[in-house]
């Protein structure tokens, strides 16, 4: 059926499309501009006026960034912590959530109160810091993994999802003499693809993006993830105006080249750090939309 559109509705539609286009432009422009600046010769950028396109094209910024050992190492640390941290946390949290769905679990309601209380109240930054210190986890890779093994939020979401799975399958497995571990591994986990994907995605993004914990717990350079290194670089730019936190080889290169400024290097660095997320993002979009809705059911 063709509907006649009134003049007022037409005007509104135009406004709607215009506003949304403007919003999308605003969301994209910072990336676009950063890409343009990162491909532009540094000293030329300093003259101003580089917005959408590079004026004097160069790959020099990326060459320096990608040769920097410290950054490369930071990448490895980030990848390592994201992969290991996500896999272990999702497994431990799912296991806990499965245990918590067993109606005959002795102490179940006490456990639940025990977990949920932590969503309301926490010791805060300093007591946690002192605890990590006294556990001897300072400056160790374990600090990325162990404290975040259990996420109470994710446990609640997993539990809600597991409860919604058909009971019949489990009962027949029970009759066949399948143990609880068997049910978990052979029935529950294979059926939980969507929720595992969603929570893994959000957990992984959290690990990849975290710069703060390493900034307080990690002291050796070789254990710093990429985001923390980037933060140090940006901070150095703001505070001193010019110095970068690159290794000495890069600084030597920097002096040699003269064409490069810390700003253009930082931009290239930001693009390199963001790239993995932008590359993975289109493939996982459908999962997080689902995930938000699963999560908000409980809210």
């Amino acid at each position: 059926m063709l509907k006649r559109i009134s003049f007022g509705d037409k005007v509104m539609l135009i406004v709607v499309y215009a506003l949304l286009s403007l919003l999308a432009f605003t969301a994209l422009y910072p990336f676009w501009n950063a890409v343009a600046v990162s491909f532009n010769v540094g000293v030329d950028t300093a003259k101003g006026g580089v917005t959408f396109w590079p004026r004097e094209f160069t790959l020099e910024n990326y060459k320096i960034i990608l040769q920097d050992e410290r950054l490369l190492n930071g990448f490895l640390v980030s990848i390592g912590r994201t992969v290991i941290g996500t896999a272990t946390s999702i497994f431990m949290t799912a296991l806990l959530a499965f245990g918590m769905t067993r109606s005959y679990l002795i102490g179940r309601s006490y456990y639940m109160v025990f977990f949920i209380f932590t969503l309301y109240f926490g010791g805060g930054l300093i007591p946690t810091y002192l605890l990590i210190r006294s556990l001897g986890m300072m400056d160790s890779f374990l600090v990325f993994i162990i404290p975040s093994l259990i996420s109470v939020w994710n446990m609640i979401i997993f539990r809600t999802f597991f409860k919604g799975l058909p009971v019949g399958l489990e009962e027949s497995a029970n009759i066949d003499g399948c143990s609880n571990w068997g049910i978990f591994f052979r029935i529950i986990l294979p059926l939980s693809g969507p929720v595992i994907a969603t929570l893994s995605l959000l957990t992984a993004v959290g690990h990849w993006n975290d710069w703060f914990l390493p900034s307080i717990y990690i002291t050796s350079d070789t254990l710093l993830p990429i985001q923390t290194i980037l933060r140090q670089t940006l901070n150095a730019n703001i505070v001193s105006g010019s110095s970068t936190v690159l290794d000495s080889a890069s600084v030597a290169l920097l002096d040699q080249a003269r064409q490069i400024t810390s700003k253009s290097l930082t931009m290239a660095m930001m693009i390199v750090v963001t790239l993995p997320i932008i590359l993975v993002y289109p493939f996982v979009q459908k999962y997080f939309v689902k995930g938000v809705l699963v999560g908000s059911l409980k809210e």
Partner: protein, 324 residues
């Protein structure tokens, strides 16, 4: 499972005399499930409850050399709380905390609802999907990146905002936005909206999608304009979801933000407008090593937050939707 359920309901377990024995037997029988829960309980105990125990150092003069022997530190009662309330920064920190979180609420809360309403009017599916994909993306960036973008755009050296303002003739000289107090709150709120607007709109879009289309058809027949339909059908229909999210925001009143402020206000000049409880705790605790003082302030905040959350949850329950 059926076995254990039968055990639970058996008359024996209700008799107190044999209760402890059968309790142990039941426990032994379900050792495998208990084993699944145990690691989680231990981990949460260590990483959530031990720090809670650590807050008693807020009533002591803690120093690092006593290490794990917390009880060797001298008790000082409410000394650190009093010091905080008397500190010259106290007033501005409290003001900044409340103002920033209120601003985030007043501007950051309606923004995704408006976006959801706009998206819902789009009939062109490809356009809609493209807009959604683009606007969700910033949510997945770290605050380091977002602050980096903000710094670049607002910079005096090839900053796009300055270029734009100069080109339209609004300013003659580039402004160093991130070092001027009067701009900080606007920058902070804008960065937050930029990052979260798309992602936060998902839940409202879902609420809109669940509205019965017959309502709109009836309104169409009655000749109601699109704007009127939004006002009379869409908004009232999503009100329950909106109200729940509003109530939850009350519980977050003292969470003005942390990473965003820390990163966007790296220039110390901004402290009078950027210092909030969390950033102050971080600075005095980990920067100046005044551990007990920082713990006391953190505890002060946590207690008020628990109060606010409890009120929020009570209100949510009253409105028919509880948190858990």
């Amino acid at each position: 499972m059926p076995q254990a359920t039968a055990e639970q309901q058996s008359p024996i377990s209700r008799q107190p005399k044999v209760h402890s024995k059968s309790f142990l037997r039941r426990l032994m029988k379900q050792w495998d499930v208990q084993l699944m829960v145990l690691p989680g309980v231990i981990l949460v105990f260590i990483f959530a409850y031990m720090p809670m125990y650590g807050v008693i150092t807020g009533f002591m003069d803690y120093n690092l050399f006593t290490g794990s022997r917390i009880w060797d530190n001298p008790w000082v009662g409410f000394k650190h709380f009093e010091a905080f309330f008397a500190a010259p920064e106290f007033e501005r920190i409290l003001r900044n905390t409340i103002v920033i979180s209120l601003l985030k609420f007043v501007i950051g809360f309606p923004a995704p609802i408006i976006l959801a309403l706009l998206l819902n009017e789009v009939r062109h599916m490809l356009f809609k999907r493209v807009i959604q994909t683009i606007t969700y993306l910033p949510y997945f960036l770290s605050w380091v990146i977002v602050a980096g973008f903000a710094t670049a755009l607002l910079s005096t050296e090839n900053g796009s905002i300055n270029i734009l303002l100069e080109r339209i003739g609004a300013i003659d000289e580039p402004i160093n936005f991130l070092s001027l107090k009067e701009y900080f709150w606007s920058i902070l709120i804008s960065a937050n909206v930029w990052k979260d607007i798309g992602f936060n709109s998902i839940v409202f879009l879902a609420a809109i999608a669940s509205i019965d289309p017959a309502l709109y058809e009836a309104a169409d027949i009655d000749g109601a304009s699109k704007a009127k339909q939004i006002y009379l059908i869409t908004l009232p229909s999503i009100m329950p979801v909106v109200i729940i999210f509003m109530i939850l925001a009350i519980g977050n009143l003292l969470n003005a933000g942390f990473e965003d402020i820390l990163l966007l206000a790296s220039n110390p000049v901004l402290r009078p407008v950027s210092d909030v409880i969390d950033t102050y705790v971080y600075r005095v605790g980990l920067g100046s090593h005044r551990y007990s003082y920082a713990v006391a302030i953190g505890l002060f905040k946590a207690i008020i937050s628990v109060g606010l959350l409890t009120i929020a949850n009570y209100m949510a329950r009253r409105s028919g939707n509880s948190l858990w």
